[in-house]
């Protein structure tokens, strides 16, 4: 049976991405797979998206394991994750289907491996993990940049020094998603645009610009 090893690969990739990028990976995942109807349908290569979502929600919200973002997330963002968790845990993928017996068996099997996958991902990434403390410190400041139409490439910890520091790529990505989910409309008002599609595209452009600038600044610093 080749299904379970492939599913373990997928879930391990999800767990590693969450460790390295923080909630941004989860937000991007649900943003891109959310509109698809086949959330509950597994395949030979991938477990159902709802299983993956539930797994990631548990990873993000679980406490006391050094990766819990639950306590550092703003209420709106935490609610967003919790709503996805409820949706995923109540999906039909969680209840065995008589038509897809082998997938149902694989789903039950994979559930027993989730804790081990989570633990292993944390062990592998322990030196490069994007920590909740970094998230808590930087993301709210970068969200303010976005709200004011400013690329999120620099963080000014103390305005009296006038010395900004370059934002980490992980912080920039998380700020982009958190701002999008927050429902804050200051950026839309600044643009004078009410169409959500246009605002989202502009926001993606601003976040991309932040990533580009931060990378240029890092490379420039190495040269000088």
């Amino acid at each position: 049976m080749e299904i379970i090893p492939k599913w373990v690969e997928e879930l391990t990739a999800d767990a590693l991405a969450l460790c390295l990028l923080g909630p941004a990976y989860f937000f991007a995942f649900v943003y891109f797979v959310g509109p698809f109807a086949s959330m509950d349908n597994p395949s030979d290569s991938h477990p159902a998206n709802t299983i993956r979502i539930e797994f990631m929600c548990n990873m993000l919200l679980s406490q006391g394991d050094g990766l819990a973002y639950g306590e550092v997330l703003e209420e709106t963002t935490r609610d967003y994750i919790e709503q996805w968790k409820i949706y995923a845990s109540q999906s039909s993928a969680s209840t065995p289907s008589t038509e897809l017996t082998h997938y149902s068996i694989a789903t039950q099997g994979i559930r027993t491996a989730l804790r081990e996958i989570m633990r292993e991902a944390k062990r592998i990434t322990r030196r490069r993990r994007y920590k909740p403390g970094s998230f808590q410190k930087d993301v709210p400041l970068l969200c303010e940049n976005l709200a004011n139409g400013i690329p999120p490439n620099e963080i000014m910890d103390d305005w009296t020094t006038g010395q900004p520091r370059i934002a980490e790529a992980e912080a920039i990505l998380n700020a982009g998603w958190v701002y999008l989910i927050s429902g804050d409309d200051r950026y839309a008002k600044l643009l004078g645009v009410s169409d959500p599609w246009t605002v989202t595209n502009k926001l993606f452009g601003l976040v991309s610009k932040g990533l580009e600038y931060a990378e240029i600044q890092r490379r420039w610093e190495k040269l000088t």
Partner: protein
Amino acid sequence: MTVLGSKRLKELIYHTENPAERLVVTPILDLNAQISDSSAAIDIRLGTKFIVPQKANVPHIDIGDKNFLDEFAQSVETIYVSYGGNLTLHPGHFVLGNSLEYFRFPPNLSGYVVTRSSWGRLGLVVATAIGIHPGFFGVLSLELSNSGEVPISVYPGLAIAQVFFHEVTAAPTDIRAPSAYLGATEVELSQLTPHEEIEKLKKLAR
């Protein structure tokens, strides 16, 4: 008309916590070179994306034609030139580019983009639509053309123009004027739509 000096520019960029009052210019890779103590402007660098009109595909530009923007968009090529690479402008050649830097102007400042004189002396014109309104945010569009008689290579990342800043008297405290180019993060084509006004002008003639 007050032109802001380097000290005031640095205060507005690096020591103004309130985002509504702050001047944002980012990234400034080399502060001392781009805002030198003796200058009253910020040097800006050339970005990496360009819109190049393909002359053979455009019979002419007629802004009275309602489809002209679509047709013009199909006749241009967007190209990316990496840092260290270059783009050659032949005499008479016109290319749209943008500043590497992203700006956000507070409501009480406006600006003007001007070609750096060293480039101008080679025949390069960097900007023709040079005014920047209070409250603008985005990358600056640069209309590059070679008015000289020999080809000129331009290099993304090199300082190519400078922006002078002026205080605006009786400025509104809050500017949210919709603009087609507001929030641009890369070079954009003209969004000129003068059809209604042309129709009005036709009626004037009757």
